[in-house]
Amino acid sequence: MESAAGNIADVLKCSHISKEFDSFDGTGKNLVLEDIDFSVKDNEFLVLFGPGQCGKTTLLNILAGLESPTKGEVVDHGKKVTAPAPERGVVYQKTALFPWLTVMGNVEFGPKVRGFKKEERKKIADHYIDLVGLKGFEKSYPSQLSGGMRQRVGIARAYSNNPSLMLMDEPFGHLDAQTRYMMEEELQRIWQKEKRAVVFVTNNIEEALFLADRIILMTNCPSKIKKEYIIDLPHPRSYVDPEFLRLRREITENMDKSM
């Protein structure tokens, strides 16, 4: 699909995005995003990496269509993004599962509201529940699951609409270190099986290096793109591989230390 957005293989094009909020005292403006410009290629695992809490979630919300930018625009497959849509699945930091629905209910929510018949949506949900390794937990409620398992449901739910792009907002940020490593491996396994373009936000450099095809390093407050790194280490990666460690040092040294 050739479009003004440029490259044929681009799934999503994010051009010159800026975002301002009214400051808390109401007198001025806070600039959180400044001139963010990048695109996401088909089946690419792109990591937005940066320190602090500033701007990254806002950027992801803008990509998802939940918020609108002050300047610039986001174009998805040649169409301007103005509202959330099933083509862009979101995995949230705090899972955002519907607590009153079971695992099955959560995963089939997307197909259900989009009008799929009962058997069809059950088939879809079964497939993705199986993919994320939750077979046997279909009837459990989110409150009965561990943090890692909830996040698996979140991933399956985002997959259920068969989106071309997955947006993940620090999905493992609330997990303990051990579960986090495991979930990173699991996400890698799932993604290798069902590839999608992914935009993954994190402030953990190991996580970024473990998962990414490409890392965009961002500065803090306002967030700007500082540098880009292509990571072509083979999967599965090792945290102690010399090249991994070299990249880790390089990126960390380039990081904006001011918080």
Binding site: P84, V90, Y92, A96, F98, W100, R114, Q144, S160, N161
Partner: protein, 265 residues
């Protein structure tokens, strides 16, 4: 951590202490009532219990006890159902639409602090002395709590969940029915729980002011005739039914909101 035996001991200890508590209360009561001057005001516990049991077969006034309870329950039931429908409807509309909120809320906030029983004189003027006037008062007693809680629930919907539903392709209508409504249910139930207790209290009050049957009538007639036994029998019935209503509501909530057992994230 305690061992199994000490836990067993403690559990039985609690049951034992409960029995001790009741036995000593009843004993002191019985002795005071039978052997001191207080007996003039305080009939012996045994007499109340036997009268209470008897009231299920021997009528007080027009009816036997179960019919009195039934009459009161019927009044509460009808008013409660109407209050539930109206309260949920109004609460949801106010929580969901800012326009409705702006129009209704000032009027609602003005009416809310007026206790339902303060409506009795007005409702007698409007509806006369019959059941209608009682329905109206009980309705008001339940309605405000249900509305306020439903409103809070709809207002407190997690915005991330709304975003998630839209992201998954839900229309505004679907967002409302599949996210806003279910996530308000615990709040609504909290409202229903308070409302059923308030409604029960309101029926007692309304029947005390004007009625010729029902549990409120039982105690107020006891007062008019200086019959302390009848008052206490009535109070016992009111307490038991009130307890059953509250417990049943809590059970129903547990049934319908299994997912809410623990704090879900």
């Amino acid at each position: 951590m305690e061992s199994k035996t000490s836990r067993f001991m403690r559990k039985n200890m609690a049951a034992f202490m409960t029995i001790v508590a009741f036995m000593s209360l009843l004993l002191v009561w019985e002795l005071v009532a039978r052997f001191t001057n207080a007996g003039m005001f305080l009939p012996p516990a045994s007499e109340i219990i036997s009268k209470f049991v008897e009231s299920f077969t021997v009528p007080i006034g027009k009816h036997r006890m179960l019919v009195h309870i039934g009459v009161s329950l019927y009044r509460v039931g009808v008013a409660f159902i109407f209050a539930t429908i109206a309260g949920i409807f109004l609460g949801v509309s106010m929580g969901y639409s800012k326009t409705v909120e702006a129009i209704i809320k000032p009027i609602f906030e003005f009416i809310r602090p007026i206790p339902p029983l303060a409506w009795i004189p007005m409702s007698i003027l409007w509806f006369g002395l019959g059941d209608q006037s009682k329905f109206f008062i009980i309705f008001l007693g339940c309605f405000c709590f249900i509305t306020v809680n439903t409103y809070d629930g709809t207002k407190n919907v997690d915005h991330v969940l709304l975003g998630a539903a839209r992201m998954l392709g839900a229309s505004e209508r679907q967002v409302f029915f599949r996210v806003v409504l279910p996530s308000s249910i615990p709040y609504i139930f909290a409202g229903l729980q308070i409302a059923i207790t308030a409604g029960w209290s309101a029926v007692v009050g309304a029947e005390m002011v004007r009625s010729d049957e029902g549990v409120g009538w039982l105690i107020v007639m006891g007062m008019t005739n200086g019959n302390t036994v009848q008052i206490m029998v009535g109070m016992l019935a009111i307490g038991i039914v009130g307890y059953i209503l509250a417990t049943a509501m809590a059970k129903l909530e547990g049934r319908l909101c299994i997912w809410n057992q623990q704090q879900g994230i």
